[in-house]
Symmetry: C2
Subunit: 677 residues, 2 copies
């Protein structure tokens, strides 16, 4: 097996660090060896130990004494949690369920791969978020919407694939604690509508079974208009008895063939997709209809909040796409069944390099919520440009919504005042509302490319999202370091260099692309490369409103009022240019180019400076990367080098187009007299 | 047969105007009744007379006296010409060849359709241009590059279609004097490369035979790299003996199956297409290699001059796409075989609504030249917007290149000085160089739509180009009137209204789109609808260079030097902003928004005014058209009304985006205070 295709589970030989003896045997107590998850955990352990330490693990009989790994059921361990504790040469792994065992085994393998000694370990882990999901935007023809790593490995030519790569995918996902996967694109069209018919149910059953062996529930994206398109009643009205009857039968049929199915993800009333609005029903009406029908099977409904007017008139400065999710959903708070989860994008627009956190988080006080992020780099470099996104996800999770805080109007922002379990992390973990149906999901960045993610370094996002979803307390640096050591090398120079590259990459990307939170300015449709006015006169609601005097969208009380969708103190903070976080300044305010930032720089000079800096930073990254020749696998070195070359070209194009375009708009020269065209 | 699908050959009942008796019989002298062209001519005559006058034509025996049409061979009539002369109740039609007969018959039918009396007619006609061609950009899969009238009727699913529609197409083409047709896209890719293989030769032969029956020679677009792609030698070097041997055999094979083939059209070294430059050879080397091989079969090679750098850097202000055709070809003047024709687009860029005439015309003094225009409305409204293009073609033909004129440096532009047979019309008709391989071609605007051209009114371009190519002396208004009376109605109100719409339509389109010759500003790739900066930072060499101060491309001596590619006095006329024709001002000059035009208006005010006017003119057109309800066929009325509604929306979008974008750039308000966003 080619190591390069194994991501962070390559299991390359490592220094044994005293681990060889401890990993030489394994004993199971209280778990059924025939349970698929246990089988997979044991087999993964043997494979990892063999690869890394060169030894074959002895599967010891229950009750036998001596050194080694001892797996034991302990009912008091939380679901999907585990406790690893070394005592007297025995590495005890306790868990209450099979998934806990699997995660614990991956934890042990991770430590070995990182050349950490198992001796003395005492680690109790439990997932911070109940649901930890990858959402794939794979189409049945094998294409991937916003995929930058080749084709789908779930679908090809309208057929479902279940093969060794599916298993490898499950191993990677499970190794970072993923427990749910949506395999098909939220835009359910053409053959995808047929996924819930006999044509596909057999293969889906096989896939779901394979997934289940790794603690992963399979989910499907659903076409809300399926009754119509599949020849049922000529309606999708959730209040129409014929429609619900159709769905009841359909869901029964699906669950009979795929009993492990986790449920359905629905993008309704969005970007041309059908939904309950068509029939004058609320989003809750639509979601609840399905939720009631999947409940008997333990299913849940993930309902996306990405509902907005995508045929806006650019002349209309009152309508604000940023407001849409909140405006469309806030009125239904509390109307949803407990097996519905609203899936909310991190920001109010669409996965830009910098956005404020969606004001729906926290504002919804009686509704299950899930944070949706995107590791597919749609707007963040297409896995050509390196852009490590875990810091962005951390920011979103750390954001204090201040919702439900009695002192929020006088909030000083200090810990005493703000520790009300009202961060996004609190909300989506279930801590705020004590709910189980909550969590995180990421639009996934994988494909049929041998290295899974196009750019090898994009593996850090694939890895990092899962780790963060399981253990939100990890820092972005810690996750980066883990991934580097697992996927690339334990060599100190490699670790330090790549970690530095990863940790600065998001700011670098931001610097050479759109400034101060304004977003967009990308090539229409493609979403790679600059086009300053590319979306300015479009129907998508994504404008910067730049003219010869200034730039930005007024989302204050005087403008679209979007800032007021937040609880205080955030609302007032955003509403005032002086207090607004500067990285979001132009998201909230229309300001003259000569407006001075806290640094003393004008906005226009900031634009020039940051764009020159961004390119310089890419050049520095490349120089650093070049020094790693011979220290990482050659294919990785070549892959990343080739991507960096394209990133540099992209960064230069952004720099020159953005600087030139703004210079041509305002006529204010760069103070430093650098080349602008 | 549905009249609507017959274009201007609908042969609706008309007032007989004394023609019934004259058209009641036909007699042939000196022509073989079995000749396919003669057969088709006679059959067309009978069909037309039956449809229009309701009578069946008697085919009289040779020598029989009496009233009627008498067709007779007269060797002194020029090729493809004819003489129609009524004397004593006999309408004599003289011609020296069968094509002349066919054209003469169509002439007679046209007069009858227009309710003109044949009595007293005495019309001697001959084609002004030897070659009069439609070029189709049809792909073998049935799509049409830049087609706005449905799919191809020549190809479907990689098969060649020869059916009744093919015949109808030939009838339409022949009725306006077309004598050559290129059936496939100049971008010869995929299956099209196989057109010259056994797979297609049988069907091509049938099609060529059908075409020949209407005096039309079939041409094919050729892939210069065919030897490589069809498994011949791994080269397309015209100096490589193996390559020429391959071509010799290939061409022999093609002509054996398709003896009527006119020759080949080649787009080489252009927009990614292969060509002689790849092998360090000149364009002449490439063209001559093929010309020598088709010569034995009477074939000719049409060689496109659309060669330019399509991966330009927008930062580069020295490279000028407008210069490219001249720069690439002028050095080869006189190097071409006499059966090669250089096919030159009317303007130096690419079929914009306003361009100067290509400076290659006239500058090439020893090379066959052909004018290429586009009736497919790629940049002129996609056959949604009405845009009658004959006036534009007239302008190009009337342009005096002043080449070869000894007094051109002191030219005053008056007739005495300028009548040196150096207009574009002189060059492409063969009058300047006394050559036969010359003429006009148009990228055609037809497709599988029932009405052939998407918008019924676009039929005027389909008709008009052919008429103009045959008889360049016709005015745009005369051609418009003919088409209206043939295709729509002889009703005076219809004729006057539609003629006015057609004759103003190009200026109207120009007003609401890109101003003063600057061009582009269209949605990238699509080429419909505005995007002011859409191509500004692209690789296509199509820039307007607008900033906060001014707009335009400096193509003077101080700039790219393009203006100097013209002979004087044009060169100096264009080089100076004060003498440059204002409709081309920004094509040649970069000027401040406050620059005053001869009208006293500033450029920016002209932009605002013309854009508001353009929309108002569309509204007026629509009001005029509405009055024709009931006076034209209902399907035509509905078709044009629906297109007008879309045109109006398009025009408003152009107006608002262009005005807003320039206002946002310069901050200069509209003097009239109208709505700009």
């Amino acid at each position: 097996m080619e190591k390069w295709t194994q991501g962070w589970l390559a299991y390359r030989p490592v220094k044994e660090a005293g681990n060889a003896q401890l990993a030489g045997s394994m004993k199971l107590t209280g778990f059924d060896r025939e349970h698929p998850i246990v089988q997979n955990a044991v087999s993964e352990f043997c494979r990892g130990i063999k690869g890394m330490l060169g030894i074959s693990t002895v599967l010891a009989c229950s009750g036998e004494p001596g050194k080694g790994v001892s797996v034991e059921r302990r009912q008091e361990i939380p679901a999907e949690g585990y406790h690893i504790q070394e005592t007297g040469g025995v590495v005890n792994l306790y868990a209450s369920d099979e998934a806990g065992i699997l995660y614990g085994i991956f934890h042990i393998l991770r430590l070995i791969a990182m050349e950490e000694a198992l001796a003395g370990i005492d680690a109790a882990c439990r997932p911070d978020n109940p649901l930890r999901m990858y959402d794939h935007w794979d189409n049945l023809d094998g294409s991937i919407e916003r995929g930058y790593s080749g084709n789908s490995f779930f679908f090809q030519d309208n057929k479902i694939l279940v093969n060794e790569r599916t298993r490898d995918y499950c191993r990677l996902a499970a190794s970072v604690g993923i427990n749910g996967v949506v395999i098909n694109n939220v835009n359910v069209k053409e053959a995808a509508t047929w996924l819930i018919t006999e044509r596909y149910l057999g293969q889906l059953g096989k896939m779901a079974e394979l997934f289940a062996g790794y603690g992963i529930r399979l989910f499907l994206s659903l076409n809300f208009a399926a009754p119509i398109e599949l020849g049922g009643p000529d309606s999708a009205d959730p209040f129409d008895g014929k429609v619900t009857d159709w769905w009841r039968q359909k869901i029964a049929q699906v669950y009979e063939a795929v009993p492990e199915l986790g449920g359905f993800l629905v993008k309704a009333d969005s970007e041309g997709r059908p939904g309950p609005f068509t029939y004058g029903r609320t989003q809750a009406d639509g979601a609840n209809m399905l939720a009631d029908l999947v409940r008997p099977y333990g299913g849940i409904i993930l309902w996306r909040c990405f509902v907005y007017n995508c045929t806006q008139d650019w002349r209309d400065t009152k309508t604000d796409r940023a407001r849409a999710a909140y405006d469309n959903f806030i009125g239904t708070d509390g109307d949803y069944r407990d097996n519905v989860i609203l899936q909310i994008k991190n920001g109010p627009m669409d996965f830009q390099i910098r956005e404020p956190v969606s004001p729906l988080f926290g504002a919804l006080q009686k509704t299950n919520q899930m944070l949706e992020v995107q590791i597919a780099q749609e707007y963040t470099g297409h896995q050509i440009d390196v852009c490590y996104l875990v810091p962005m996800f951390k920011e979103a999770l750390d954001f204090n919504t201040c919702a439900g805080c009695p002192s929020r109007n006088t909030c000083t922002g200090d810990a005493a005042c703000c520790d009300k379990r009202s961060t996004v992390a609190d909300v989506v973990s279930g801590r705020t509302m004590h709910n189980r149906n909550a969590g995180l999901c990421a639009v996934c960045n994988t494909g049929s490319d041998e290295n899974w993610t196009g750019n090898d370094l994009a593996g850090a996002n694939f890895y990092g999202f899962g780790r963060l979803a399981y253990d939100t307390g990890l820092t972005a640096a810690e996750i980066a370091e883990e991934w580097i050591r697992l996927a690339l090398s334990n060599d100190r120079e490699v670790v330090d260099t790549v970690r530095r590259i990863l940790l600065t990459s998001r700011e670098t990307y931001e610097k050479y692309t759109s400034p101060l939170g304004i977003g967009w300015m990308v090539t229409p449709m493609l979403h790679y490369g600059p086009s300053v006015d590319g979306y300015e006169y479009s129907r998508w609601g994504t404008y910067h409103r730049a003219d010869w005097q200034g730039i930005g969208v007024d989302r204050t009380k005087q403008g679209t009022g979007y800032a007021q969708q937040y609880a205080n103190p955030n609302a007032s903070l955003y509403d005032c240019a002086e207090t607004c976080p500067e990285e979001l300044l132009l998201f909230f305010h229309h300001l003259p180019y000569q407006y001075r930032l806290r640094s003393g720089k004008t906005i226009i000079q900031h634009i020039y400076d940051s764009h020159f800096e961004g390119v310089e930073e890419v050049e520095e990254m490349i120089a650093c990367w070049k020094k790693l020749a011979g220290k990482v696998e050659e294919r990785t070195f070549e892959n990343v080098s080739e991507r960096f070359a394209r990133q540099l070209e992209n960064a230069r194009e952004w720099r020159d187009q953005v600087n030139t375009c703004f210079y041509r708009k305002c006529g204010i020269p760069d103070e430093k007299g650098r080349q602008i065209y």
